[in-house]
């Protein structure tokens, strides 16, 4: 269907997706009902975890198989990310590799703890944000436009250095108010259609909204950046935020704004314990 699909990517065969789903199933039940009290009345999923898994696999299972056969087009982007990591840019005459190891060895496992609170910005730092901070502060290179090809490729490469490492973001201490802001946004009714993220992705998870099965948010933050058929390209988690904002006719926010970084922390915390598995692949 797309010419990308003729290629094979043995390294990142998206078996990871299938494994991720299984692990997510196990993790999800252990996780049920967790989450700190912040005054928000959290939803419970309408249907049981077992029933949810059954429905999820019935709808997306075949797609997963197909994917494993055909490979993930985001593999190209990951390759380009590796090249960019080694490319000298900016007035300091450095590449990312100059400071973080030839292949980024010093950043292995690091992204599993992101997003995280950073006192230097008195807020939540994301991998995407840190890339631009390093370019500006340490390389003397211009910041990359968020969601541009190079920015996504670098984010993907840095995150891939944590593949298989269990996500472990902290919401303790100074991170706490930002987590709570993320949760408040997740539960806020928005847009002309007046829906919250949570009503679709928690309460009605496992139900069909038209031809789409609503997924549970436990498994939302472990596989982006990823390739999405509907986009026809590789994008970030925050691109999904904007898409879902538009779905309810709410105003999408700018990439990497404070609210989206808080939201990313909230969603990534829901995925704590699951391995990082990038690039993802979705319909």
């Amino acid at each position: 269907m797309r010419r990308f699909f003729h290629f094979f990517f043995k390294d990142y065969l998206i078996l990871t997706f299938a494994i991720g789903l299984l692990v997510a199933g196990a993790g999800r039940s252990a996780f049920a009902g967790a989450g700190p009290a912040s005054g928000i009345k959290e939803y419970k999923q309408n249907i049981s975890t077992a029933e949810y898994e059954k429905r999820y696999n019935a709808v997306y299972g075949k797609f997963t198989e197909q994917m494993a056969e055909q490979g993930n087009p985001a593999g190209f982007v990951l390759d380009d990310g590796r090249d960019l990591f080694k490319k000298v840019e900016g007035s300091a005459g450095k590449s990312c590799a100059s400071c973080h190891g030839e292949n980024g060895e010093k950043l292995e496992g690091v992204a599993a703890a992101y997003p995280k609170y950073d006192p230097a910005i008195k807020g939540i730092n994301t991998v995407a944000l840190q890339i631009n901070r390093c370019r500006k502060d340490h390389m003397g290179a211009p910041e990359l436009k968020y969601e541009s090809y190079n920015q996504v490729a670098l984010e993907l490469y840095v995150k891939s250095l944590s593949n298989g490492v269990p996500i472990n973001v902290s919401i303790d201490g100074p991170a706490r108010p930002f987590y709570e802001a993320g949760e408040a946004y997740y539960y806020k009714r928005q847009g002309q259609l007046n829906m919250s993220c949570a009503i679709c992705h928690v309460k009605y998870a496992g139900h069909m909204i038209r031809a789409n099965l609503l997924s549970n948010n436990r498994h939302h933050a472990d596989h982006w950046p990823g390739y999405r058929l509907k986009w026809g390209k590789t994008g970030s988690l925050q691109k999904r935020f904007r898409g879902c904002n538009k779905k309810v006719r709410a105003k999408p926010l700018p990439f990497q704004c404070e609210t989206y970084r808080d939201l990313e922390l909230y969603l990534t915390y829901q995925a704590n314990g699951l391995p990082v598995e990038v690039p993802g692949f979705r319909m």
């Binding site: 002309q192 259609l193 829906m195 139900h207 069909m208 038209r210």
Partner: protein, 123 residues
């Protein structure tokens, strides 16, 4: 004689007064209502409900063909209120407040009501 005439006129007026609003409310058109229900940018009801003739309906809300069996002409006002703003019946509903948030016009809601009530007349 005269008195009788006046009474008759009064009765006729009272009759009109009583039934005019109902007649006005009944000013919907079922065929237009079907279009509103089926159009993605308008009602998009099949996102959550089974409605006649729509493929791949959602299952977030009840099957509307089945649900309408519990509705009759006397429930018209209530049905209209639900579509106008379901929060009146369930404050935490996922169903969009079609009237309050001006997703649909008043006329479109009347048309939808007419269409839904017509389910019971078929077959």
């Amino acid at each position: 004689m005269r008195k009788g005439k006046i009474t008759a006129l009064g009765l006729a007026l009272a009759f009109l007064f009583l039934f005019l609003p109902a007649a006005a409310l009944a000013g919907g058109n079922a065929a237009d209502g079907k279009k509103v229900v089926d159009t993605k940018k308008l009602g998009n009801c099949a996102a959550c409900h089974v409605v006649p003739g729509m493929e791949f309906p959602g299952d977030v809300g009840p099957n509307l063909v089945e649900a309408m069996k519990n509705y009759s002409e006397k429930d018209r006002t209530m049905l209209r209120e639900r579509i106008f703003d379901e929060r009146k019946f369930n404050p935490d509903t996922i169903m969009p407040p079609f009237g309050t948030n001006k997703i649909l016009t008043s006329q479109q809601i009347d048309d939808v009501v007419e269409y839904l009530l017509s389910f019971n007349n078929k077959k």
